[in-house]
Amino acid sequence: MEHIVIIGNGISGVTLARHIRKNSDKKITIVSAETEFFFSRTALMYVYMGHMKFEHTQSYENHFWKKNRIDLVFKRVEKVISTENSLQMEDNSILKYDKLVIAAGSKSNKFGWPGQDLKGVLGLYHKQDLEVLEDLSKNAKRAVIVGGGLIGIELAEMLLTRNIPVTFLVRETNFWGGVLPEGEAKLIGRHMLEHHIDLRFETNLKEIISDENGRAKAIVTEKGDVIECNIVGLTVGVSPNIDFLKGSGIETNKGVLVNRFLETNISNIYAIGDCAEQHEAIGYRKNIEAVWYTGRMMGEVLAQTICGNKMQYNPGHWFNSAKFLDIEYQTYGWVWAKPKSYEKQFYWEHKSGKIAIRISYHKETMEFLGINIFGIRMRHEFFDKVLTEKKSVDFVIENLKQANFDPEFYKHYEKEIASQFKNEFPTLKT
């Protein structure tokens, strides 16, 4: 029986294992050094905030794995010996495989700042980070978060629930300005201020200062400001967790290089999820996609290939979602922070300043290209279909009500949106 070994028990590895089990009788082993059982990384924040217990982040009960004959090995992989089809573990034991899948995920970025390894400095990615944070939170007077992205704002939200004041250093002029156009970025910025987050735009970290015990006691910005704090959150993105692959013969760049079949340069080794890097980016996607959804999709696809139904990783229309404190965000298709040459955008914001949409369309063909949505829920299925069928922007505006996914009795904004659209673009037939 063929033995499939998967390094990493995150969403990619576990999805892969489940699908292989559905389609075959192969022996499956998942190796992880982080936790014994799969948990949802995105939910770690809720454990800290007291919304859930850690066990609630586990999607499958512990008996699930045995029942589905998926072996779990709770050990760190020291190195991959591809010539011998085996893994050397931290305790020097050897695990043989027939096919190996690397789904080792990411690690938090650190950009060589002085003091970045002090006590009190942490990223937010692993379960262990949460344990460290829990410990640091006792008696913390202030936290400084560096990096204006999704993990940063989650960390800020977490700390606020423990009444720890937060200073947030953001490199750009607006929050998540590399991804969000100005309207949306400002909307989120206002919401953060409303939550009493001390937002500092265009501010970079210079160094972290230690106290006599090797603990962070303050940070210095490039502008020379000193901010006293006990916690420093470094949330400046993540990069593939592939250090253990050095010398394995597996071709890597930032991540493990793979083709569209998620194959590495070695025939029986694959890589999926955060740690996989496409030789060539797919469409507008990045070469490395550290996103929950893409990790899952790669797992779904690779299972087919491994079970003999060779299939390319061919993701559909881009979508993503997040929650910024109290404001939910969804996006379907592509809306660029700085519009591309062919692109035109329509932005509507509710007078509350907390609900907004931005629709992107082709300025000549009028084809709908994408939407950013804040504070309204919309149907994935609707936009997937609209994008596939290349519908026009006015079709979308006209049928926006069909897309609405808010709970019953919620206020609807489609009319307001349509009327603003008509005012701004009187030439369109809507």
Binding site: I11, H19, K22, S40, T42, A43, Y46, V47, M49, G50, H51, M52, K53, H56, T57, Q58, S59, E61, T161, E194, H195, W292, Y293, R296, M297, E300, V301, Q304, M311, Q312, Y313, N314, P315, G316, H317, F319, S321, A322, K323, L325, D326, E328, Q330, R377, M378, R379, H380, E381, D384, T388, F405, D406, P407, E408, F409, Y410, K411
Partner: protein, 619 residues
């Protein structure tokens, strides 16, 4: 900010103080059985009951004696009732029944030289001219006359005869007997209690309910200023002693369970609590005194209103939650409470018109049906309405809207669970084993309810339309009163009350609804197989975070469906909408729509390779 925190603390202290005072009131004052109390309690009984009871009480030295606590007092009453019943039976026996001497005379005359000849003549010779007694014994024993029955042994005859006489004596005394049950004892205790509370009911009403309401509202409303931005704020729920089965939860659990046990089984210990709400009862009818059920009704409404206000604040950003909470409050206050109090003022049965069978398990009992039939056209209509509600409205509404229309919008049990119980919703068990247990409890209870209804209904039908067929009130060998009593005790009291609500802080707020309620079972079957309701999963947006499952009060593992892109179609879903509310990615929506595609198991979620999705989802 600081002032608000102080105010919040004061609110909490006031609330705790009110609970403390409420508990202490049970021990306030003393109990004294006076002639007046006896007269008052047994005013509907005959003069003889009152005088004999007074006499027995005097002999025992209980009359007028002050007893400091309800426990010793009720012990006295228990012995007193026993003694009274013994005495009155004896008295009546002497007066109307057959004395030992008379029985011996009959035996002597009947059994002569081993031969048994029993006839009316024997009675006439023993009782001489007492035609009443002749008639009495004749009617009871004429089947034993030698002309109809042949006794071989004297012992057999004696045995039959003695049994019959015991019956006669007992039935003679029947109208004077006092049952040693919770109702009699409650009435006595309620009349006998004296002390400051009885003198100043309104004052205590303020100190308990008044302070409690003020304190809890201050606590709840100051929260609005501490969390001024609307949104899901479940912060610290699993870090709190109150909501994560900590010591606060254990205390609340102890209080609730004790309360239900006292309420259902020993109301005579809590007459002081009912006295507190007497002033409210007399608003409906001058001079009426509150029963334990009135107390329960007030507590129920107050808890729901206060905690309903909490829900309005907590979910002020969520219209579905606001409308739904307003709806349960409306149905509780108007239908379950006010109408129940008001209808009897118009000589109509005081029933809860929204309570559908089989949750309403007394629906076809003889007393309930008779009560309706005796109340004119409107009373009869009310009975017909109950039938229509249970057999037509319930299934049709479930088809269109799912069982949520009842469970989360109308039902009293659901209403309490969604308001008072909301802080405990996360405690429901999500494991597969719990789902298995659920199916092994709720459906058998539904079957039990159906069998009970058939047996009781058959008996009631006979009583109303076919009295000659009543017999011993059994069907399939099951006694109608017995099965009704067992059901009421096990399901109605223990499961729905003591476990259903008492265990909120331990098992979560919908234990009864999930594991016990036969109406939920009935609607659940329809919801699962023939309904337009479902919780739609939004394509591939789920991140498996688990908030939905954690906050599902029914213990449904919502995430298991959502992360597969599959709609949630489950018999147990009560449609509270909280999974959708707590979802951080907008993945879940409660919907009523076409039955087509309602159940949509997916292997590959939306967003992946179209060919792969077609390949695996269609097969």
């Amino acid at each position: 900010m600081k002032n608000i925190k102080t105010l919040r603390l004061i609110g909490l202290i006031l609330f705790i103080a009110s609970v403390f005072i409420f508990i202490v009131t049970l021990f306030i004052g003393s109990y004294s059985l006076t002639e007046l109390v006896i007269k008052d309690t047994f005013s509907s009984k005959s003069e003889r009951v009152i005088s004999t009871f007074t006499k027995v009480a005097k002999e025992r030295g209980v009359l007028g004696k002050e007893i400091g606590n309800p426990f010793s007092f009720n012990d006295e009453i228990t012995s007193l009732l026993e003694e009274y019943n013994a005495k009155i039976t004896k008295d009546i026996e002497i007066e109307k029944g057959l004395s030992e001497e008379e029985i011996n005379q009959i035996f002597e005359k009947t059994i002569q030289g081993g031969k048994i000849s029993y006839s009316k003549a024997v009675l006439e010779s023993v009782f001489q001219n007492n035609s009443d007694k002749i008639k009495l014994v004749d009617e009871a024993t004429n089947w034993m006359y030698s002309s109809t029955k042949n006794y071989g042994k004297a012992a057999d005859f004696k045995n039959d005869f003695t049994n019959k006489i015991v019956d006669i004596n007992r039935s003679n005394a029947q109208e004077f007997l006092l049952y040693d049950n919770k109702y009699t004892k409650f009435d006595i205790a309620k009349a006998a209690v004296t002390g400051p509370l009885k003198e100043n009911k309104k004052g205590y009403l303020f100190l308990t309910f008044g302070l409690g309401i003020i304190g809890s509202l201050v606590f709840i409303i100051t929260g609005l200023f501490l969390e001024p931005i609307a949104g899901i704020k479940n912060n610290g729920i699993y870090l709190s002693e109150a909501t994560n089965r900590g010591w606060v939860a254990l205390f609340v659990f102890g209080f609730l369970v004790s309360f239900y046990i006292l309420l259902y089984f020993c109301p005579y210990y809590i007459v002081n609590w009912t006295n507190i709400v007497d002033p409210l009862k007399s608003m409906f009818k001058e001079g009426e005194r509150a029963s334990q059920w009135f107390l329960y009704g007030i507590l129920y409404c107050v808890s729901m209103i206060v905690m309903g206000i909490r829900m309005f604040i907590k979910y002020r950003h969520n219209s579905y939650q606001i409308v739904r909470t307003a709806s349960v409050l409306f149905f509780q206050i108007i239908f379950a409470f006010l109408l129940v109090e008001i209808l009897p003022l118009f000589d109509l049965p005081g029933v809860d018109l929204k309570n559908a069978w089989p949750l309403d398990y007394n629906f076809v009992t003889d007393w309930n049906v008779k009560q309706h039939l005796d109340a004119g056209h409107l009373g009869k209509f009310m009975f017909v309405w109950s039938v229509i509600l249970s057999l037509i409205v319930v299934p049709v509404m479930v088809y269109f809207y799912g069982k949520r229309w009842y469970c989360s919008w109308v039902c009293g049990c659901g209403g309490l669970a969604e308001t008072l119980g909301d802080p405990y919703r996360q405690l429901s068990d999500k494991r597969l084993i719990a789902w298995k247990i659920e199916r092994w409890t709720i459906y058998p209870i539904f079957v039990f309810a159906i069998i009970m209804t058939i047996v009781v209904g058959y008996n009631t039908y006979n009583i109303v339309y076919n009295p000659s067929n009543v017999g011993d009130s059994t069907l399939f060998g099951i006694n109608a009163y017995k099965i009704n009593e067992i059901y009421g005790f096990l399901i109605g009291s223990i499961f729905a009350g003591v476990i259903g609500t008492g265990f909120y802080p331990i098992l979560g707020n919908r234990t009864w609804c999930r594991f016990g309620c036969p109406l939920a079972a009935y609607m659940g079957i329809i919801q699962r197989f023939k309904s337009r309701f479902r919780i739609t999963t939004n394509g591939g947006q789920c991140i498996s975070c688990g908030n939905c499952s954690t906050y599902c009060e029914q213990g449904i593992d919502v995430r298991a469906y959502a992360q597969k892109g599959e709609n949630i179609v489950r018999a147990s879903c009560v449609g509270c909408g909280v999974c959708s509310a707590v979802c951080p990615r907008g993945v879940l929506k409660l919907e009523n729509a076409s039955e087509k595609g309602r159940i949509n198991p997916n292997e590959i979620l939306l967003g992946n390779d179209v060919n792969l999705m077609d390949l695996l989802n269609q097969k």
